[in-house]
Each structure stands twice: as C-alpha cells, then as structure tokens.
C-alpha cells in the first residue's frame, strides 16, 4: 500500500466516523424529542384518569387498562412515582393497582436481571411499594456484586419498614458492603424498634457500625443505652466513634449524660472537646456553665462551640455570656459573637454598637 493510499484511507475513515457521530447525535436528538412528546401525551391522558380513580370510594382498578405495552409502562411509572407522596387508602390503592398489573412480580424477577441498572431499579421500586413478601428479594441484593445495587437495596429495605431487615443492614455495614450513611438512613426509617439491636451491636462491631449505632441511638433518644455510649465517648480508640458517641449523648439529653460529657470536655482531641461543648448546650445543662466558660479559653472551635452552647442554656447562660462579653479578654470576643448571632437568629435587633452596616 502506497503512502498516498494510506493517507487517503486515514482521511476517509476519520471523515466517515465524523459523519457517523454527527448522524448518531442528530438521530438521538430526534428520537428523544419524539419519545418525550409521546410520553408527555400519554402521561397527560393517564394522570387525570389515575387520580380520578383514586379519588373514588370503591375504585374499579381494572377500568384503568391502557392500550399497548408502552402505555402500560407509562401507567406503571406514573403510579410508582405517586407512591412516596401517598398515605393510607390512596397508597394501598396504588399498590393494589401495581400488583394487579404484574408490576410487583416483574420487579421481583428484575432483581435477578443480569444488568445492574435493572436490579437497582427493581430494588428501588420494591422499596417504594413496600410489600412485606418482597423483603427477601431485596435483602438478597445486599450481597450484590455492584455497590450501587447494594446501596439501592439498603435504601429499599429502609423504605419497606420491616424491622427484620435491621440485622442484615448492620451486617452489610460491618462487612463494608454498604456506606454508613445509606445504612443509617435505612435504619432510621425502621424507627426505634431497632434500638435494642443497635445497643447490642454497639459492643461488638467495627468502627463504622459503632458510629452508626451511636448516632441512631442518639437520634432515637435511647436513654437505656447511655452507659454503653458513654463508655465509647470516653474510652473508645476510634476517632469517629468517639465523636458520634459524644454527639449521641447530647441528643439523648438525659441527666445521666452530663458526667461523661464533662469528661469529654477535657478529651485530648479538640474536635471531641468541641463536640462535647455542643452536646452540653443541647443537653441544656446549667450545671455545665462553669466548665463551658473555661472552654472559652480553649482552641478556636472549642471556644466557638462553648459560646454557642451557653446561648442554649437559657437566661443564666446568656447572663454569663454578657458578663464575659463586656471584658476585653479573648473569651469575650467569642461571647459577644455568640450573643449577636443568637439575637440575629431570633430576628431581634442587634445591640446598637453593632448597628446595620
């Protein structure tokens, strides 16, 4: 092959690929535009019928049988999209409609699809539908090879609200199969029924599990778990688990939390001390005022958190801040800032010395 022919072939190939790309781009645009228009028309026709049907006393779900496979899929998508916004009998009606149309069985089968996208989408759909009988299909996906599918399954288990899923979720977290944030949200959706299991897990799990368990027990206000959480807050070797435990003690808000939090106010790490100051503010513990005042001389983030905490301790805390704010000390600057910001947050006018700029 001569040099000239090689160049001509290279040019022709490149020109051909360019033309193909341009045509593919234009065809894609034409196809998607046409699809969107068709979809829009179908949705506009089906949505009012679906809503009217749900508004009737005894809906005849079979009356809503659209013509054609595509229209059926649009109806299923419309109905599934409504689920997160519905409660009570309306929700039950939509679930029944989806069951009758075979959408639930199709989703269960799709959990075994070869395509990760379809498995994840199926998990999402089954989570929204929330039927107890589909829980094993979704739970199986917690061990899927694809991380996005595992995360979708964890979210779905949370939405299904079945407390039996809690051990699987915690195991998935412990084994590093699902991110902590996803598991925490799923467990939060299961509610405080999972608190006893969380408390048990607290003692024998990895750092991410201890973090999630502490945070959730704090959010659930699990007073019974205070001794275990306090032990983590004061002695755990994990940086993140200690932080989560301190935060949890503040959220639980029991008087039993005061002593461990005061201990944490003297922790080695400034992030732990700052979190302890915030937690004491949340606790509303006026007994901690003297310790918080001392923390105003600590590192920046501790001093800032301590000043903000004092504003949360009612008139006594505010009076203390005003006294300190009147001094030219470093602590006074944090006290003044906290007072002004507190006033602004409550839509009051700031003191005259900080007049509008």
């Amino acid at each position: 092959m001569t040099y000239n022919v090689s160049i001509s072939i290279a040019l022709a190939v490149l020109a051909g690929i360019l033309a193909l790309l341009t045509i593919a781009t234009a065809m894609r645009r034409a196809f998607v535009n046409a699809h969107d228009r068709r979809q829009g028309r179908l949705e506009a026709a089906l949505r009012p019928r679906l809503l009217r049907l749900l508004a009737t006393e005894d809906p005849d779900l079979d009356a809503l049988a659209p013509q054609g496979k595509h229209a059926g899929r649009v109806l299923d998508a419309l109905a599934a999209g409504l689920l997160p916004k519905l409660r009570g009998s309306d929700r039950a009606g939509v679930v029944e409609l989806l069951e009758r149309r075979g959408a639930v069985d199709r989703a269960c089968r799709a959990t075994m699809s070869r395509r990760a996208v379809l498995r994840a989408r199926a998990a999402e759909q089954l989570g929204n539908i929330g039927l107890h009988r589909t829980q094993p299909d979704v739970a199986r996906l917690l061990h899927d090879r694809h991380p996005e599918v595992r995360a979708a399954a964890a979210r779905a288990l949370g939405k299904q609200g079945d407390v039996e899923s809690a051990p699987s979720l915690l195991r998935a977290l412990d084994n590093g199969l699902v991110p902590a944030n996803v598991v925490s949200m799923a467990l939060m959706r299961l509610g405080d029924r999972s608190a006893p299991l969380l408390e048990m897990t607290l003692r024998e799990s990895s750092v991410p599990s201890r973090v999630v368990c502490c945070e959730l027990l704090g959010l659930f206000g699990a007073v019974g778990a205070v001794p275990a959480i306090a032990a983590i807050a004061t002695t755990d070797p994990g940086y993140w688990s200690r932080l989560a435990a301190i935060r949890a003690l503040g959220r639980i808000g029991s008087p039993k939390c005061l002593a461990p939090l005061l201990t944490c106010l003297h922790a080695d790490r400034h992030a732990h001390r700052a979190e302890a100051a915030r937690a004491l503010g949340r606790l509303g513990a006026t007994d901690a005022i003297a310790e918080l005042v001392a923390a105003l001389d600590d590192e920046h983030d501790v001093a800032f958190a301590a000043a903000a905490a004092l504003t949360a301790l009612g008139p006594e805390g505010m009076r203390t801040l005003e006294t300190i704010g009147a001094t030219p000390l470093r602590a006074g600057r944090y006290a003044t800032e906290a007072l002004i910001v507190h006033a602004l947050e409550h839509e009051r006018h700031a003191p005259s010395q900080f007049a509008a700029a």
Binding site: V117, R155, P179, H300, L344, H349, F354
Partner: protein, 478 residues
C-alpha cells in the same frame, strides 16, 4: 549544512506529527472512559439516593466559600441561588475582596446585613486584613467577610477557610449558579466514602446565553458569539469528559476553583492555599496528593459527573486571552512547585503519568504546536515535505481534534442533554470545527505567552473580567 537543516526540519515535523497522535489519542482514551462512566451515571440517576442524603441528619455540613471582587451585577442572584440549594445544613461565606463597585452595598441591601464581631482564627495563612464581618437579620446562613484586596483570589479563599465553620468547604465563583441539587451531588462521594474522599470536583458549564430566573437555570442555550460557543465545547471536552476520564483513572489533578468541595481539616492540614500561585486550585490538589502520599494516608480525589455549576466564561477574545495566559502561568508555577513529584514512583499514578502529561502536553503543548506548525509550513514552502505530509499533518492535528470535539458532543447528547434546541446542536457542531481551525492556534499563542511570563518571572497577568450579568426572562429575545 543545508542538508542538515533540511533533515532537522523533516525530523522535527515527524516528531510533531507523532506528538499530535499521542496527544489526541490520550484525549480519545479519556473521552472513551468518560463515555462509559457517563452511560453508567445516566442509568443510575434514578436511584442515586440524593433524597436520602438530603433527609439524613448525619450528612456532613458544608461551608460554601464565594470570593467576590466587583461582582455587583450578579452577586445577589448568585447568593440567593446558593441559599436556595437543596442540602441539609450549610452556610454561604461571601468574601468581599475590596471591591471598587457596589458589590457589598447590594448584598447589604438585599439581605439586610448587620455587622457582627465574628472571630476568625488564623488557621491557614492569609494576607489581606479582614475589615468586618456581616450576617443577615433573621438567621439566614449567610456570612459576608469584607477584606483588603491583595489581587489574589487565593487570599480571599484563605480568609474564607478561616471564617468557615463546617466540616466540608465548597469553593464557588461569585459569577456562578449552582443547580438546586448540585451540592448533594458533589457531597455524595464524601457520604459514600467519608474516610478516604478528600476532594470532589464538579461539572462546570458556560452560563453565557442561558436564562436564569430567581437563581435557577430555566433555559440552557448556546451563547451568541463564537468565542463563547467554542468555550462551551472546550468545557465539555476538556473540563467535563477529560476530568471524568482522569477521575476514573484515579489521576485527577485539577478540581476547579469555580466549583470544588474539600474536607476542611485536610485543607488546613496541608497549610491552606498557596497565596503566590495563580493556579491555586491545581496547587491545592497537588499539595493534597503530595502530603497524603508522603504521609501514606489512604485518600481519593474524585470528579462527580452529575452536579452542575454554571459559570460565566470570557465573552471576548481579549479577556479570554488574559484568562488563558493566567492559567498557563499558574500551571507552570504548580509544576515547578511540585517538580520532585514528576516521574517519581513514590507518588503513584500522579507522579508517573498525570504530572508528566501536564508537563509535556498541557504546559509545553503550545511550544510544540506553534513551533511545529511553523516548521511544517516552512518544510512545505521549501519543498522539504510533500503535500501528502501536509495532508497527514492536517488529518492528525485538525481532523482528529474535530473528531474528539464532536465525540464529546455525542456523549453529551447521549447523557446530560442540557441544550435541547436543534440550533444549539448546529452551533455546537460548527464550534467543534472552528475550535480547531484558528482558535486552537490562537489559544496556543496565549498559553505560550503565559508560559514565557512564568519562566521570566514577569508580574502575573491579572486583570478584571467585566461581568455581563445573567440573562433573566424579560431580557430573552422574542
């Protein structure tokens, strides 16, 4: 002697040809990797879990840092858009960097600002003195810090780092609009892998020509001028797909200062931003790579392909030239500051592949391109090279590049599809051609000037970019 000159020109021209083949093939590989990643991202968009991140009280909080210098035309709209972002807990810290226009006055009026005695500790080095700090009545999460201008964006950001209070810091340009879910998207990698992810870059798109209403993008359109349209294609190919590709290869070096999210403790640990650097974003990421590699800490720097920040690009060639000179200058500084990482296996892929790529193809690219073009023209004019070589050169350097830009447009069409009009697609295709005929050579010239200025240590090529302001619905031509 004449024979030697002839042979030298021919050899150099073949070298330049090979250089273009390698450069464009690297781009092709990046676009191909990005295309696969984008296809996956589109498929999983429906189950991304953003609602859970938003609803979860344990999601990390964010301080959005907005350096603002003479941004009066857009600042209120930008800040409103940021305050309306969908995210559980965040604050917006505007660093008003000694503006000579009424940037601050507009903010003060729009948000009813009150001066507060906020304590700003010197956690990282900053030069410009803080004059005052202001917050709105009513408790909106907005902080406005006024400081003395030092002609350094990095200094404003450093003050912002010191003034911020949350665990993640997001750097955003004041002339930018973030999409409502952008912060959730850019925070997702931190949420999924909180112990290792230290920085996340977000997608940038040109806002010129696009209609904004109430801080929201309501109609994405191609800009009117070709300089802006070419930048749309360039942002798409290089700053979007290119970075998705590098991120997939675990070799992301640049998290744009216009939209990037960082772990605050890591930024403080590496000493903050380099105030002498013009490429403070690349410098910061390079410092993070260097520090965490040297201290053997596991970490990830990633690019999130979904969140979008719309930013104003230079509307004229003159302003664009100044911006690109500055970028080239900044890149030279970054590579010089981190020269011991280049080719050093201790720094993994960053040392062995990414930094050498930036040195050979990004920094020295304009030298090879312009000298190579001159050598090819000379070779052809003197008859040292035949027309076939000229054709081959044009194929490799121009047609291959046009192909890459069109491929980027195709990936966009099959994934994000932000520009919906046929006229936008036509303009994009024409811009993909124009980018490589004329603009690219001009661009190489601007970059070369930036490189020369950096080598000669001339004063940095600063200069304000006049803002046109956002297009709002009544301004849209009917």
């Amino acid at each position: 002697m004449a024979h030697l000159v002839r042979q030298a020109i021919i050899d150099f021209d073949w070298f330049v040809l090979g250089y273009f083949v390698v450069l464009n093939t690297i781009y092709l590989a990046l676009v191909a990797i990005a295309a696969v990643a984008m296809a996956r991202a589109v498929g999983r968009a429906a189950f991304s879990g953003y609602d859970d991140i938003f609803a979860n009280p344990l999601t990390p909080s964010v301080s959005i840092l907005v350096p603002a210098y003479n941004e009066a035309s857009e600042i209120v709209e930008s800040v409103r858009a940021m305050l309306g972002l969908r995210y559980p807990e965040f604050e917006v810290v505007v660093i008003e960097d000694g503006s000579t226009d009424d940037t601050f006055a507009r903010l003060a009026e729009a948000f009813d600002l009150v001066q507060v005695p906020r304590v700003i500790p010197p956690l990282v080095r900053a030069m410009g003195e803080v004059l005052s700090v202001h917050m709105p009545r009513g408790g909106e999460p907005l902080v406005v810090v006024r400081k003395v201008n030092t002609s350094r964006r990095s200094d404003a950001l450093a003050v912002g780092v010191n003034a911020s209070r949350h665990s993640l810091i997001c750097m955003v340009d004041a002339d930018s609009i973030l999409e409502e879910g952008a912060l959730l998207g850019v925070a997702k990698p931190f949420v999924d892998d909180p112990e290792r992810v230290v920085a996340v870059g977000g997608v940038l798109r040109a806002i010129n020509g696009t209609t904004v209403d109430g801080g929201r993008i309501v109609d994405a359109r191609m800009p009117k001028t070709w300089v802006e349209r070419i930048q749309v294609i360039e942002y798409l190919r290089a700053f979007f797909l290119g970075r998705v590709g590098w991120s997939r290869m675990k070799g992301l070096l640049i998290v744009s200062g216009a939209f990037g999210l960082f772990r605050r403790d890591v930024v403080i640990e590496v000493g903050g931003l380099n105030l002498e650097s013009l490429g403070e974003d690349a410098e910061l990421v390079s410092c993070i790579h260097q520090h965490l590699r040297e201290t053997k800490q596991p970490y990830r720097v990633v690019f999130a392909s979904e969140p979008v920040c719309w930013t104003e690009v230079p509307p004229t060639a003159r302003i664009l030239a100044r911006q690109r000179r500055r970028w080239s200058y900044g890149l030279a500084q970054v590579l010089w500051n981190h020269r011991r990482m280049i080719g050093n296996p201790r720094y993994g892929l960053i040392g062995l592949l990414v930094l050498p790529y930036y040195l050979l193809f990004e920094l020295l690219g304009p030298v090879v391109e312009l000298v190579g073009l001159a050598a090819v023209i000379t070779g052809l004019a003197l008859g040292y090279l035949n027309v076939q070589f000229g054709l081959l050169f044009a194929t490799v350097s121009v047609a291959y590049s046009v192909f890459l830009s069109v491929a980027a447009l195709t990936v966009e069409e099959f994934s994000a599809r932000r520009y919906r009009r046929w006229s936008d697609l036509r303009a994009g295709l024409v811009a993909a051609v124009l980018e490589n005929i004329g603009f690219r050579q001009l661009h190489a010239w601007w970059r070369l000037r930036g490189l020369v200025a950096a080598i000669l240590r001339r004063p940095a090529p600063w200069g304000a970019m006049p803002r046109a302001g956002f297009i709002t619905p009544p301004d849209v031509p009917r």
